[in-house]
Structure formats: C-alpha cells, structure tokens
C-alpha cells in the first residue's frame, strides 16, 4: 500500500502579466518520500513552490493537504498546515540567537507571555540534535555558516512539526561534505514521516536522494517518474526539447580581428576564476550556464564593477586595466545588465537623458551639454531601434519592458563600443520585441560589433550565438561552435 498523500496540487495555472508561468500542473507528495522537481531556468519550479507555500496565489487549480481542500492558501495558513520552506538563502533573523529563531515557530504569538529561556534552549538543543547537528543555541545566527543556518531551518521545521518540507536549491552554496550532512537531516525528516519537495539543478543529488521526479518544462508538467526508472540522459532529454522557431537566427557575417581577449581572469570573492576566451568583430559569443554559475559576475568583472584580481584583459590587442565602469567605457566596453528596471535605465529620466547618460562628452562642448545634439542623437536611436514612445522627452518609466530594454541598448550604442555585453537581453520582453532585439543584435554584429550575450533561454542561445561558452562553478568549462551545439550537450555541460 502506498504511503498516504500529504499534499496534492491539482491543475495549477498561473500567469504573470500575461506570461504563462504554469499551465495545468499537478503534483502530489507522499509521506516519507523525497520528491524532486526538475526543469531548466524558468520552467516554473519556483512559481510552483511559491504557490505551495502560499506566497503566490494560483489563477486556477486546487491544493489539498491531507485530503482536505485548502480554500485560501497564504503563508500563515501554510504554516498552520505543517508546510515549511527552506530556501537557498536561509530566511532567519540574523541578530537573534539560534534558540530564539527556532522558538518563533512553535511558541504562542501572545505578546505578553512569559519567556522560559531554559526550556527554549533545551528544546532548541533537542531539535538540533534530531536534525543531526550540535550547534550552541545561544549563538547569534549571523555567526553561523550557511549550512549551519540551513540545519537551523530544518530544526525549526521539525519544531513546527512540519509534515511537508519544501527545499529550493538548498545545496547551491554547499560543499560536498556539507551536502552529506544536509542529506542526513533530510533522512531524519523522512523517518518522521514528513514529505520533502526537493528542487536542485544537481542531477546527481536528485538520483541520490529522490524517490520520484517531476519534470517541468515551459510551465507544464511532463509527468512524474520513480527515480529508479530514469537515467541521467533520459532526464536531460525530458528537461530540454522544444523547437527553435521563436528565434530570429543570426546571419553569418565575416568575422574580423579579436576585439576582446581574456586570459585566466579571476575575481575570487565572487567565485569567478580562470576564465579564458576571445570575441571577434562581428561575432556573438553566447554565455550559457545555470543561474548562479557566475555569468553575471563575469560580466561585472569585465565591466569593472568587480575589478579582477587575477588574469588579464586585452582590447584590440593591447592590455588594459579595468578598475571601474568608467575604465570599461573608455576602452569601448558596454554592458546592458540583467536587472534593467533597477540598473539599466533611470526610470525618472527622459529617453533623451537616458540615451546620452554614458556618452555625455560626445554631446557636450567644454562640459556644456549641447541639447540639440543630444536630442538628435536620441531621436536617431529612437527611429533606428524603433523605440515606441510618445516623444523623446517621455520618462523611460512610462515605456514597455521591450522599449526600456531598447533605451538601455541605445545608451551603449551611443558610446560607440567595440564590445557589447548583454545580460539576458530579452528576459521579460514580449515576443514581438524579442524578435526585434534579436534582429538588432544581428545587424549590430554585421556592422562589426563584438557581442557577448548571457542567456538562460536555450533557443536564444542556440539561435543567436556563433559560439557558446558554457559556465559552471565560476569558470568557462567549454566553448562549443554553433554547428555542434545541441540543447542536450549544453545542459550536460552546464550540469557537470
């Protein structure tokens, strides 16, 4: 007889601003099992667990806990139902002690109750022991290491008598030894009859710990399998596999000299190390890899936001030192960051001011801004890039996502760069703008620009790149020419 079902999510559908994140996904969790959720970046895993923990409400679909339908799931209800979530970044109060953090979940919330410190400590010590760790309950949480904090979270989940424990990439920041300790704690959870929903990019962990696997792709569930019935290759094939028709493919253009050359580049504090590659005029180099593999960090090293502490950068054949964004701009490197809304454009400023922000010397004479030159330059980009706006004086905050992205692009084109680094250039952009941005990238490359494109979008990576560099754990593991690249190969390289 199979173990009782603890949680049943049925036909869950969720859209964000018209973009379907989940479509009719069903998944169930049984007592005493570890159930892995796998899928590529953006497959919908995070949205699904947010719905399970009540952080986000589904548009359609139902959730049953222990056979009872939950009418309204919010974080408070989830806790009352015995659902606990543990994230990659532990969500503890850093300035409180371990005992206080654990006590918060099971002590009554009455404000004027008396606190029995001795029993608090005893309880915390017992729970930590049953999670497999001996941590002093009087230590402040901020003094604990990341894995110790995760153990505290597990102890807290046990203290709350959680029957359903959801873990989102808990091992992303852990070493192998620490992962083993975490697995020990997970084993203890299942001995107590709890069910664990486990999300991880590391497939070996999935095979080592999960009883069943559910595969998500583009917001849909492909099904659930017992782990024993799958092998690694099959699982990877399930995770990828979609057609490439949505991409505007890059034209082949004659490539020129190497513009940007990087040898053994490192920035130890962010984990980027020994990165070596080169990009030619007219080339688009795709930068693939999983979220957290160090792609954005590498871009920030190249742009001087995190000055390199090892290795060298050559631009157009001469060694350069890039210690700040101003250095990078002076050497012809432009960077359109991923988080466009926060770092790419200044939302309060007009299109004109945003477009000229990185190239003010070009539209200024002796420090005085030539407003006419500035406007005509902006107008040219508005028509070149087909930015849709009422006027060039409209604040960028009033534009759509795709058009904001184009303004960010215009700013860098105005600096006449030799190399442009684009971090997730079409993330959160509608399909029409996406095709336009792809076409634009193609024509920029044809005009001799070298482009480094970070992308988590497989079709984009395969369709737009001349070569694809795959990053894992802070360094480039392999560079694959387009002709040889397949989704399976790239995912294989990214997973390691």
């Amino acid at each position: 007889m199979p173990a009782p079902v603890l949680l049943q999510a049925d036909s869950i559908t969720k859209s964000y601003a018209g973009v379907r994140a989940l479509r009719g996904v069903s998944v169930d969790l049984r007592a005493g099992e570890v159930h892995a959720l796998v899928g590529e970046n953006g497959a919908g895993k995070s949205t699904l667990i947010k719905i399970m923990t009540g952080a986000v409400a589904p548009d359609a679909g139902t959730i049953e806990v222990a056979g009872q339908r939950v009418a309204h799931m919010d974080p408070h209800a989830a806790r009352a139902l015995g659902i606990a979530a543990i994230y990659q970044q532990p969500a503890l109060f850093p300035h409180l002690t371990v005992a206080e953090n654990i006590a918060l979940t099971f002590e009554s919330a009455r404000v004027w109750r008396r606190i029995d410190w001795a029993s608090r400590r005893r309880r915390a010590r017992d729970l930590l022991a049953s999670a497999g760790a001996s941590i002093d309950p009087d230590r402040d949480v901020e003094t604990l290491s990341m894995p110790e904090q995760q153990i505290v979270e597990i102890a807290r989940a046990m203290g709350a008598d959680a029957r359903i424990v959801i873990m989102d990439e808990p091992t992303a920041a852990l070493t192998d030894r620490e992962v083993e300790r975490l697995f020990g704690a997970i084993a203890r959870l299942r001995e107590r009859g709890a069910g664990v929903v486990y999300i991880s990019h590391r497939l070996e962990e999935v095979f080592a710990s999960a009883d069943r696997v559910t595969v998500l792709r583009d917001g849909e569930s492909l099904g659930t399998w017992p782990t024993a019935s799958l092998d690694r290759a099959r699982l990877i094939r399930l995770m990828v596999g979609r057609d490439l028709s949505t991409v505007f493919p890059k034209r082949d253009v004659a490539m020129g000299d190497v513009v940007l050359e990087v040898r053994g580049l490192s920035h130890r504090p962010s984990g980027v190390h020994d990165v070596t590659f080169g990009v030619r005029r007219g080339e688009i180099l795709g930068l693939g890899g999983l979220v957290g593999s160090g792609r954005t960090e590498l871009a920030e090293v190249l742009f001087g936001l995190r000055p390199a502490d090892g290795g060298g950068i050559r631009v157009n054949g001469s060694d350069v030192r890039i210690a700040s964004p101003a250095d990078a701009i002076a050497h012809g490197i432009g960077y359109v960051p991923e988080d466009r809304r926060h770092h790419g454009v200044v939302l309060e400023m007009s299109i004109v001011a945003n477009a000229s922000l990185a190239s003010l010397p070009a539209v200024a004479r002796a420090g005085m801004i030539d407003h006419r030159a500035e406007r005509s330059s902006a107008s040219r980009y508005v028509s070149d890039l087909r930015i849709k706006a009422e006027s060039v004086d409209a604040p960028v905050g009033s534009l759509s996502g795709g058009n904001q992205q184009k303004v960010a692009l215009a700013r860098w084109l105005a600096t006449r760069p030799a190399v442009l680094i684009l971090d997730e250039p079409t993330q959160g952009v509608d399909v029409g703008s996406k095709a336009e941005i792809h076409a634009l990238m193609g024509s920029l490359a044809a005009r001799g620009l070298a482009i480094v494109m970070i992308s988590s979008d497989m079709p984009e990576l395969l369709g737009m790149s001349d070569r694809i560099a795959v990053m894992r754990a802070g360094t480039i593991r392999s560079i694959v020419p387009r002709a040889e690249a397949t989704q399976d190969l790239l995912l294989e390289l990214a997973l390691g």
């Binding site: 400023m349 001011a353 003010l360 200024a364």
Partner: protein
C-alpha cells in the same frame, strides 16, 4: 523640468501677497521688504547647496554649525587685518573643508548622511563653543561691515550674489554634464555607476560645494554688523531643508530644481512676517511652516503613489 510644483508655489505666493496687499499694505513698504530680503538671502544661498545634496539622495543637517564656525572664521580673519577678499576666500574655504569632511564620511566611508551630519552638527557646535568660550568676535574693522561699501549699496550686492548663484546653479544643473551626474546619482545610484559616473565623487563634491556656499552665506550675513556672534545659525538646517522640500526637491533625491528652491525660500520667508502684519501671534509661525512642509511632502507622496502602484504587486515577479 518646470513642473506643476512651480505653478502651485507661484499660486501660493500670489495668494499670500494678495492677502497682505488687502489686509496689511504696510508689508510692502520699502524698509520691510529689504528687511525680509536681507534676512533670507543667506538662507537662500545655503538652500542652493542643500538642494544639490538632497538631489543626490543625501542630507546635511550640520549647516547651522558650519554657518556659525564660518562666521567666526570671517570675523577672526578680518580682525587679523586681512583684506576683505582674503576674508571671503578664507570663509568659503573653511566651509568647503567642513563640507568635504561630511562628504568624505558619507561618500567614502559609506556612512548614512543623517548620522554623519548629526554628529558633525553637535561636535562642531560644541567645539566652537569651547574654542570661543561663547565670546563674540568684536571691534571688527570698518572694512568688514557692508563689505566696506555703503549701507545702501549692500542690499544690491547681497541680492546680486544670491541671484548670480541661483542662476548659475540652475543653469549648471540643466546644461552642464556634471548636473546630469547629480540627478542620475540621486535617481538610481546603481544605474549611475553603470553609466560610468563616479557616484562617491559626486556625493563628496556636492557636500563640499554645500559647505562652501554655507561659508559664503555666513559672510554675507555677518557683514551686516560689526561683530560676529559665536552662536549663529541655530535651527538654520530646519529652515533650509524645509524650503528645499517645499520647493519640490524629492527627499529621496533625483528630482528637484533650483527654481523650486528659490520659490520655497520665498514662500517660507513671507509667511512669518505676514503673520505679524496680519496681527496673528508670531508663535504660530513655526506651526504654519510645519503645516506647509507636511502639505508639500504629502503632495509628493500622493503623486508618487498614483504613478507607481503598490509595492506588494511589484514584489511578485515571475521566476
């Protein structure tokens, strides 16, 4: 960026003036107008600097103490027999130095400006009290008072200095590339950094300029008398920040104009004397100024809320 705030301020100014014209035409006598004007020229000069600081998203509440120290520096320099030009330069330099100290702590030590300038406000004030033992600088040479000019030409010079600064800074913010850096720093420091601006340098610079302007304001103020008090400028920071905020500069930075600041200073300047002329107790002055500030800030918050819907919605992002 002549926004709606300019319009509302002009309307409010016009309303107060109209009220005065009907109820107390004596307000518009030549002597009274010059009095109000001269009393507020220093406030305006300090407020211009404070606008720069607020535009970058920082705040400087030490201006009152800096103002007092600069005044004493001016007095001591003049007493030592320095020519007026040297006295002016020394006073501005003292202000710039103290501003640079604030700026360095905020920009390079990354300390919150409200804490830094609260500390310097208290420390500088008490340091001055200790150094002077509360004594005023007295028996200043004739060349000090009225800048060595006649009493009748002084108002023209003082107003001329303020007007020139006002125009130069308003022009600079709009037409000089460095002005764009100030707005970008306040709107979105990360985006400014990505666009290649030296955000820390911008912050250090605005504090230094604000300090120099405070020094200039101190000497413009102090030449009206032949002695310099060692306890000047108490509460100046409130007057100045109130005027800047009423003038439409966002307390979080990135938005505001020098014209707005001019109008803000003007509005708060006539409210107090207007009360006296209208026969209302002067004790109401601060309460009414407070109400004006609250109204200005509330108006800002309301407009901002209308423009960007709730945080709760923005926080839920697809992943």
């Amino acid at each position: 960026m002549a926004d709606r705030r300019t319009g509302s301020l002009l309307a409010a100014l016009a309303a107060v003036c109209a009220l005065l014209a009907i109820a107390a035409p004596g307000f518009f006598s030549r002597e009274n107008l010059i009095d109000v004007l001269l009393g507020n020229v220093p406030v305006l000069i300090v407020a211009l600097g404070a606008t720069l600081v607020l535009l970058t998203g920082e705040i400087d509440i030490s201006v009152g103490s800096v103002f007092a120290i600069c005044g004493v520096v001016a007095g001591v320099t003049a007493l030592a027999g320095a020519p007026m030009a040297i006295t002016i330069v020394a006073t501005c330099a003292a202000g710039a130095l103290l501003g640079a100290l604030n700026g360095a702590l905020v920009a390079y030590a990354a300390l919150p400006s409200i804490v830094v300038t609260l500390a310097t406000m208290v420390a500088l004030r008490d340091g001055l009290r200790w150094a002077t033992q509360g004594a005023w600088v007295q028996d200043l040479p004739d060349s000090f008072q009225w800048f060595g000019l006649s009493q009748s030409s002084y108002p023209i010079v003082a107003c001329g200095i303020a007007a020139l600064l006002q125009a130069a800074l308003a022009y600079g913010l709009r037409h000089v590339a460095a002005g764009r850096a100030v707005y970008a720093t306040g709107s979105d420091p990360d985006a400014a950094r990505l666009a290649g601006f030296d955000v820390a340098g911008v912050k250090a610079a605005v504090f230094t300029i604000a300090g120099a302007l405070t020094g200039l304001a101190a000497i413009v103020n102090d030449v009206r008398f032949n002695q310099v008090p060692s306890n000047a400028g108490i509460g100046l920071e409130m007057k100045v920040i109130a005027a800047v905020v009423v003038g439409g500069t966002a307390i979080r930075g990135g938005r505001g104009t020098m014209t707005g600041t001019l109008l803000g200073v003007a509005l708060l300047a006539i409210v107090g004397p207007a009360l006296v002329f209208l026969g209302v107790s002067a004790y109401w002055e601060r309460a009414i100024q407070g109400a004006i500030i609250l109204a200005a800030v509330a108006l800002d918050a309301w407009r901002l809320r209308r423009r960007q819907p709730g945080l709760s919605r923005a926080a839920v992002q697809p992943s």
